[in-house]
């Protein structure tokens, strides 16, 4: 039965990347139940597109589908008004008020503080950091997932790190 063989091949090659898929969905939707729904939908989409998969990086291919499913979901489910309007140019301005934290301060950041700070980042910055630091993806892979150029990956990562550092500095400064 070719359908069954196809499903088995899919389960063997794609499902090993389920952890990465759920993790990305979890970070983008910021909610476990939504992340589960999105991951499931993305996996079924991937299964339908599976014949179109031309080889190459399976994880990046799957995560690109997860990412698209997430953004479709976010677009449909974010309450009007709360929609995260984001303009890279406007938002790229450096923070002026908060201080750049010391290395020791960064090193003391615990998991909850890090998670909170990451959650507050705009989606496009959060996703590059998740892909880079948690999934350990190369710029090329990230570019494939987010369908942007290598240069954009680098500049987004740079900005994401700067923003995260500042918000961590503010959070940890308040605590101490």
């Amino acid at each position: 039965m070719p359908e069954t063989a196809r499903r088995e091949r899919f389960e063997q090659t794609v499902l090993p990347h389920l952890d990465a898929a759920y993790n990305l969905a979890r970070w983008l939707t910021r909610n476990d139940q939504y992340a589960q729904d999105v991951t499931q939908e993305a996996c079924l989409r991937a299964f339908r597109f599976f014949d179109g998969y031309q080889g190459g990086n399976m994880r990046a291919w799957l995560l690109a589908i997860v990412r698209n499913t997430c953004y479709t979901w976010l677009h449909q489910n974010r309450a009007p008004g709360s929609a995260e309007v984001f303009d890279e140019e406007i938002h790229s301005a450096e923070f002026s008020g908060s201080a750049d934290p010391e290395i020791q301060v960064l090193a003391s950041a615990d998991r909850e503080t890090l998670r909170r700070a990451l959650k507050e980042l705009p989606d496009i910055f959060r996703e590059v950091l998740i892909l880079r630091e948690i999934e350990g993806m190369s710029y090329k892979e990230i570019a494939e997932v987010a369908s942007v150029s290598l240069g954009t990956v680098m500049s987004r990562l740079a900005r994401a790190r700067t923003r995260l550092r500042h918000s961590l500095g503010a959070a940890l400064g308040k605590e101490s």
């Binding site: 499903r7 589960q36 339908r48």
Partner: protein, 263 residues
């Protein structure tokens, strides 16, 4: 390389994503510029904090199961429904999955009576024969080497879900030499190894509740002899390259030692 450029390239440098020329220029610049070196250290500290933080969310087990069953259910389905529309349909998918399981169950049930039929004996005989040959060829005759039945029997505890009867018939010329785990009939079985002069006898044992049948020889092939019998809640298969009369004698001895009470 100016500091402005350096600032832009620090992330790429940190991530090992710069080409060779850029990397060398960065290294030269970093040696002479404290501000850029500090920037790099700062980004490194942030990266380390993120990596150390175990920030990945673990996939719920239920999700994996859900995806697998929806994949199974959708096999053959071309139309795409968005996630929220699946739930009412899922009842039908579960019903379909259940029907498939039921059919498999009935098929399996119909096969069960066949387990004691001659055809299954032939299948087991082939497996026993292969296992015996493999144990000699692969130099993997024993997992536990001991002539003491009180060493061999406890060795199986915890490795099997049953405790095979281990008898000592050394005085009759069939010393026990050891035991090992083997795999027959889709389950783990005990293999007891006895010796008859220069020949080894593999005795495969696994539970056969209520099974009672006298020992009989199973068609021998390529100079090997096989015998099987059931007693005391176990099924026994003996394979050897010793002579057929020797094997029959050995089996008779074992049979007389294993009383039905010993389970």
């Amino acid at each position: 390389m100016s500091c402005e450029l350096t600032q832009r390239f620090v992330p790429g440098y940190l991530d090992g994503e710069l080409d060779l020329v850029c990397t060398i220029e960065m290294e030269t610049h970093l040696k002479s510029c404290a501000a850029c070196a500090r920037e790099l250290e700062n980004q490194k500290a942030l990266r380390d904090a993120l990596r150390r933080g175990s920030l990945a969310y673990a996939t719920p087990t239920a999700l994996r199961d859900r995806i697998q069953s929806s994949l199974r259910a959708s096999t053959g389905t071309k139309a795409f429904e968005p996630a929220r529309a699946w739930y009412p349909l899922q009842i039908w998918r579960w019903a379909a999955a259940f029907a498939v399981l039921a059919v498999c169950g009935v098929t399996a049930w119909q096969l069960v009576p066949g387990l004691h039929a001659p055809s299954s004996n032939q299948r087991i005989a082939a497996e026993v024969f292969a296992s015996h040959v493999r144990s000699l060829e692969a130099n993997h005759l024993m997992d536990v080497a001991s002539t003491d039945q009180h060493t061999v029997k406890p060795w199986f505890d915890g490795k099997l879900d049953f405790s095979p009867p281990v008898e000592d018939v050394a005085t009759e010329g069939y010393p026990l030499v050891g035991g090992r785990l083997d795999y027959l009939e889709g389950r783990e079985v005990a293999a007891l190894v006895y010796q008859r002069r220069k020949h080894f006898i593999n005795v495969f044992v696994w539970p056969d509740p209520g099974g009672v049948s006298a020992a009989r020889a199973i068609e021998s092939s390529r100079g090997y002899n096989l015998m099987r019998w059931s007693q005391g809640g176990f099924q026994f298969w003996a394979a050897t390259d010793a002579s057929a009369p020797d094997l029959a004698d050995f089996v008779r001895l074992l049979e007389s030692r294993i009383s039905p009470e010993k389970k």
